[in-house]
Symmetry: C2
Subunit: 356 residues, 2 copies
């Protein structure tokens, strides 16, 4: 790209000019009407989620390239769909831009978004670009799910195993390494890169869904039918409750328990963290990143023990059963080895350091 | 409302507090998961449209109350759905807010939105509220349409009549009366109020769709089949092309002609304007408001003469056949009475005053 093009600002080409420039990121058949039309499969419910991201609040050129900001915003919305059991159909992108923003910045943002979306065959099907004093990105994602396969937070039952689909704490560790490079002095690049990558390019776990459906399908039909019956009042037809861990693992488990009217016990040492943590961070720090760090975009699922074990085995590395659903309403962090005292997890208090 | 509550700011209750306050505007079954789930009808396509509105750019407390800003933003999105032939399923609302915005302002915004939405049985099914230096409203609306009833811009054919579903210019006149009250000195309140109302509370023309389907259904089946065959390549299965007139009547007709590869002739005196215009505005000014004023949110439809006449008759007041689709690519404004010379309409040039 020559330097003139690279320094071109949004105000130089206007909203219409920018729209034309961005059309290559959208399927051609979508463009040119008042709204986009998408074909849905029969007997599917529509699932919709939306996010607003503001420059300086949710992303910053300091820690995030425009490509990564684009990827992350798309990934966050696809993760919400995965957390509902839904397959993505498309996203719309609303963009508020100051005139001084570089056109190349916007193109790089779209590049990052589409890189993420293409991995999951998801098109950008619409958008709006307007003038604004602050760069703002509003994404709405929609997907479809068979009504019997909707994963709700409210469907956890006592005795369920709690599964996480991957390690936690990596995204927060990556962010800290970007903000304070000196923290990584004792790490080599092979150790640092995956953590930073986890922050910049989180993977929505849409890949978990077909594995989950296959396992549930192959489990005893009677068992599933009984479970489903038990959960009928809880608005779910499958024996799975869940959400994603975008706001942290502790948040996810607390939200599920609250919505389901149950409690939980988590086993400290079952919570999977990146291997690098073991020789880099004190155990408490590692646990804090894992529980409260956020933005790991894994799924947190509550399901019968047998299905949970099969799921963890199929998913492999990083996936684990981290605890079980209990009666009551408290979410307890327990250390089997009794090195740490039990701790009640709460959203308002955050992590309680054991030595404080 | 007591004065303490009335002056409460967003930062006083936080995003979570505000979300809780706004839940009463959403159906209760929607709340509490990563995304909203909506049931769609079988054999329907999904239609999606999105708009971003920024304080100071798209709305202002000077001319627009928060209720009206809410109504208008919802109406604009529903109008896009109507323009595609789609029935609304729901909208999501993304909101960026400075901490200093009054909570009551946000509640009044939602009040206006839901007043408009309720008229069309459309729920707010999701949203996001974030901190931002400037008040920003991102709405995504989705609806459904039978694949054979999608109204596209690209389906106009030579010989079609061009129908508008109501008067044009009212919204612009209302805005001018709000900005410059002195313009309305010669008008009484009964004349001013409907114009101002047209600006503040535009009506998306979803009501037109069932009438349109009924007329097309009752027209000669052979005729419709022939027309549909002719339009097959144009991605439409019904003999109707169209869009809404949110960006002005001239814009709508030019966009349809461009997408369909046709031209059009408009008859000056057939373009319906509010009755008040006749004794208030010079004819040229009235025509300029009607063609370029924008935000009337009527539908502009191209369809066979017989269907067009039936539609206008059913819709009644304000609806009219304003011209016909021609070969070529120019959109001509013609005066049957030959008082004005013919004028080629264009988006870049705007209205050409006859005396200039």
């Amino acid at each position: 790209m020559n330097s003139e093009l690279a320094s071109q600002q949004v105000k130089d080409i206007g909203e219409q000019g920018l729209l034309e420039r961005l059309q290559r990121f959208c399927p051609p058949e979508i463009i040119g009407d008042d709204a986009a039309v998408l074909v849905t499969a029969p007997e599917q419910s529509l699932v919709v989620t939306t996010d607003v991201l503001v420059d300086g609040v949710h992303f910053s050129n300091l820690t995030t390239s425009p490509e990564d900001a684009g990827w992350r915003s798309a990934a966050a919305n696809l993760s919400d769909l995965a957390a509902m059991g839904a397959s993505p159909l498309g996203i719309t992108v609303g963009l508020g831009l100051p005139g001084e923003v570089r056109v190349s910045w916007v193109e790089r943002l779209y590049q990052g978004m589409t890189e993420c979306l293409q991995k999951y065959n998801t098109p950008i099907v619409g958008g709006d670009i307007v003038r604004s004093p602050v760069t703002t990105l509003a994404i709405t994602a929609f997907g479809q799910v068979h009504p019997n396969q909707i994963i709700r937070r409210s469907a956890a039952v006592i005795g369920d195993a709690i599964v996480v689909t991957g390690v936690h704490g990596a995204s927060q560790a990556g962010l800290q390494l970007l903000l304070h490079p000196e923290l990584g002095q004792s790490l080599n690049n092979e150790e640092k890169t995956p953590l930073i990558r986890a922050h910049q390019r989180p993977q929505p776990r849409l890949d978990v869904l077909p594995i989950l459906w296959k396992i549930l399908d192959s489990q005893s039909k009677i068992q599933v039918a009984l479970e489903a019956h038990q959960r009928c009042d809880l608005k779910s037809k499958i024996p799975v409750a869940g959400m994603d861990s975008s706001d942290g693992l502790a948040d996810a488990i607390i939200q599920i328990c609250r919505a389901s009217g149950v409690g939980a016990v988590l086993e400290c040492r079952q919570i999977p963290v990146p291997k690098t943590f073991n020789h880099w961070l004190p155990q408490e720090q590692a646990l804090e990143y894992a529980l409260y760090g956020g933005e790991d975009f894994e799924l947190v699922l509550c399901l019968p023990q047998e299905s949970a074990s099969a799921l963890v085995q199929h998913l492999g590395e990083g996936a684990a059963i981290v605890g079980r659903v209990t009666a009551g309403s408290t979410v307890l962090l327990h250390d089997e080895q009794k090195k740490f005292p039990d701790q009640v997890l709460s959203l308002s208090q955050g992590f309680q350091h054991f030595d404080s």
